[in-house]
Symmetry: C2
Subunit: 421 residues, 2 copies
């Protein structure tokens, strides 16, 4: 679905600099993060440019963006070495000299002193800003940001280090950009993570909700198989008004997506499963055939998992699990046996029977899941179509989701969009 | 180290189109793949542009690149839907009409017919090319490529589907670009994957080799922790000459990087370990503490692993493995016990003792690895510094590498750059 911009006439551009990005050595995740976050707060990115650590290219890129845009975020080139050119070329584009920012120089020196070190002389370069530039704080690094006007656009300079860029984008840049765009008030992004619903079906299930129809709340999706992220973006004059308007829509989405919601906001499926086990004082053992330990690998490393995770067994050999082949019954039998052996309160078995031969359009696998606890066993069987990695990812998600459903008292065998019968 | 271009004066640009890329919903891996591959064959990308599915932006981007560049690769916008605008805007920029390419139309219809389906009418759009455009074949998709001249640059249009773009880049675009740049002959990329050597040390170990010094062979590195990729790019008039020149340099690099080479070209560490086990008719069981099954997850799903992979055990609880704590002796004891239980010829135990408390600059973990086989046990112990994910990734790599070294008769305890003593 088309993103609704709160400020469609404001033109934002992103300009990424650096040879590592230009030559493809580094994948440009900074660009996608910035563009996505700006979209989520109602701003629209119209153009992206990538240039190297090259004076002529930078100058040309600054001038072109300055002619087209209202605001430009420049990323990278603020480091202490000679190939970091952003401040210099910004000063040239503005026709002003570089001037030492005493405040930032002192801050850098203090930071070095605090760690018992002397600041290397070439760091001084990072405190040299174009004359009259607006200083933008970087609380976690040595490259401060700054803003200048080139042509008709306001340029915001940010460091290439992802965590520094991300923090400055949230705390410093987004408020300034919203102000330039005349957008006041507060924004929020509510996220639901589902397993088992495809993007087009989710759109069909939700898009008739009036708040989405009239654009008061923006509905968006991001599929990262096997999960789908459903995003509700809302903007309001006040926190109180935002809460009042969001609450009923959030509740309606939660009702419609129902049991398929595996997590919300920053939660993960494995985190929800772990929390459910911890809350109830339960323990877990897992067995996996063909998924190669990917299910245990999601759960076992989490903080707190040492209290619930008793044991994981991985094999390719049915004999090792005491079964002849893959079936729902076999999965339950593996679960029962594993529970007895490990003395865990719950055992989760995930078996996959892959089609023979090379991959082809209808290649697939049968997934059998068995869960054993003190009151008996439950099972789930499904056929998934796709290549080996696709089936494995879907099966691991289904295994964890079945356990989530079982622990939360939900049906474990609701049909999902990815399965064939 | 700086890439050496075989044709520094030729100016190549990449223009990526599409709202999914512009808004950051999709990370632009097509760009990094194209730029990297062009660099590897001796071409230099000077500028990257990203615009959405927007007529005005596309036209402006075409004209600007046409003024600056010698060659432009355009990616995306060749689909059958109305928001795919590349052919239309290319025709407009050239001042020519769109004309049906009968050859491609027939090919598309035949492809549909072969699958027993009728081609939807909107696919016809994909056979409409700017008049006099050069047709570029896409053997695996419905979007053909084409080339036109806009301004002073030759524009090559490619589909956004990654596997289609990649194939066309190799088979169709790179030969044409090399021709435009006046680069004749053949190129090859030889790759070594190492574990345990940092990028700067590898550079120091190799950069004095004369073929790198004089630029006859380009040396490059790509770090993806815990592995480092060392790349040798060579260009020559003939295959025979290329082989003669590359062979001694390849041998010298292999000698200098020595035991740290875990794989070459398209091989992987886990693939090399699996092959060594299969060749020798051996079998394997693994035990992991804290790495959450990530070691088994690398090996167990590989084709052929069912013949060697007997069992993997994952736990957070030392008691489950019959030990009191993490040490080299404990790792050997776990290995011995696991080998007996599983009746595998080899058992590999990976234990990690993480520092207590929150992550801090000197946060780390002690990694203990034990390998048991018919002739006894060997052990390896190392302290790694970094956050939990960093230590886990390094430990898993070290576990697999120890087994590789043991199977190949190499020392298992060579010091690596990532460890502290």
């Amino acid at each position: 679905m088309q993103a609704v911009s709160y400020c469609p006439r404001m033109r934002v551009e992103i300009l990424c600099t650096g040879d590592e990005i230009l030559t493809g050595k580094t994948i440009n995740t900074n660009y996608s993060h910035m563009a996505r976050r700006l979209g989520e707060v109602g701003l629209t990115v119209h153009w992206g440019t990538t240039v190297g650590d090259d004076r002529e290219s930078l100058l040309q890129a600054f001038h072109q963006a300055g002619e087209r845009a209202d605001a430009v975020i420049v990323n990278g080139g603020l480091g202490p070495t000679v190939d970091d050119l952003s401040q210099e070329v910004a000063a040239e584009a503005c026709g002003v000299p570089l001037v030492l920012n005493e405040h930032w120089m002192t801050r850098m020196e203090q930071n070095y002193a605090r760690r018992g070190r002397v600041m290397p002389p070439n760091n001084k370069k990072q405190a040299m800003l174009p004359e009259n530039a607006e200083f933008i704080d970087n609380p976690i690094g040595t490259a401060c940001g700054f803003a200048v006007t080139i042509g008709k656009a306001r340029f915001f300079f940010t460091p290439g280090v992802p965590r520094e860029m991300r923090l400055m984008l949230e705390e410093q840049l987004i408020p300034r950009l919203l102000k330039i765009g005349g957008i006041t008030g507060v924004t929020r992004l509510k996220r639901f993570h589902t397993f088992g619903i495809g993007e087009s079906r989710a759109d069909g299930m939700l898009s008739d909700i009036p708040a989405f129809q009239n654009g008061h709340i923006k509905l968006g999706f991001q599929a990262h198989y096997p999960e789908l992220e459903t995003k509700l973006a809302i903007h309001s004059d006040s926190e109180a008004d935002l809460n009042i308007r969001l609450a009923p829509v959030e509740a309606e989405v939660r009702k419609r997506l129902g049991n398929f919601i595996i997590a919300e906001d920053n939660q993960t499926l494995e985190g929800v499963v772990l929390a459910a086990l911890l809350e109830r004082g339960l323990t877990l053992a897992t067995a996996e055939m063909f998924s190669g330990g990917h299910m245990a690998a999601r759960l076992a490393p989490l903080p707190g998992a040492e209290r619930i995770f008793r044991k994981g067994v991985v094999t390719r050999d049915p004999g090792e699990l005491g079964i002849n082949g893959v079936s729902a019954e076999a999965a339950q039998s593996v679960g029962r046996k594993l529970r007895d052996e490990s003395r865990a309160s719950h055992a989760l078995a995930l078996l996959i029977d892959l089609d023979e031969g090379p991959e082809r359009p209808d290649f697939g696998g049968t997934v059998c899941i068995g869960i054993a606890d003190g009151s008996g066993t439950v099972a789930r069987q499904a056929r998934l179509i796709g290549n080996r990695d696709w089936i494995r990812a879907g099966a691991v998600e289904m295994g964890l989701d079945c356990l989530r459903r079982h622990l939360l008292g939900l049906p474990v065998d609701e049909r999902i969009d990815f399965e064939r019968r």
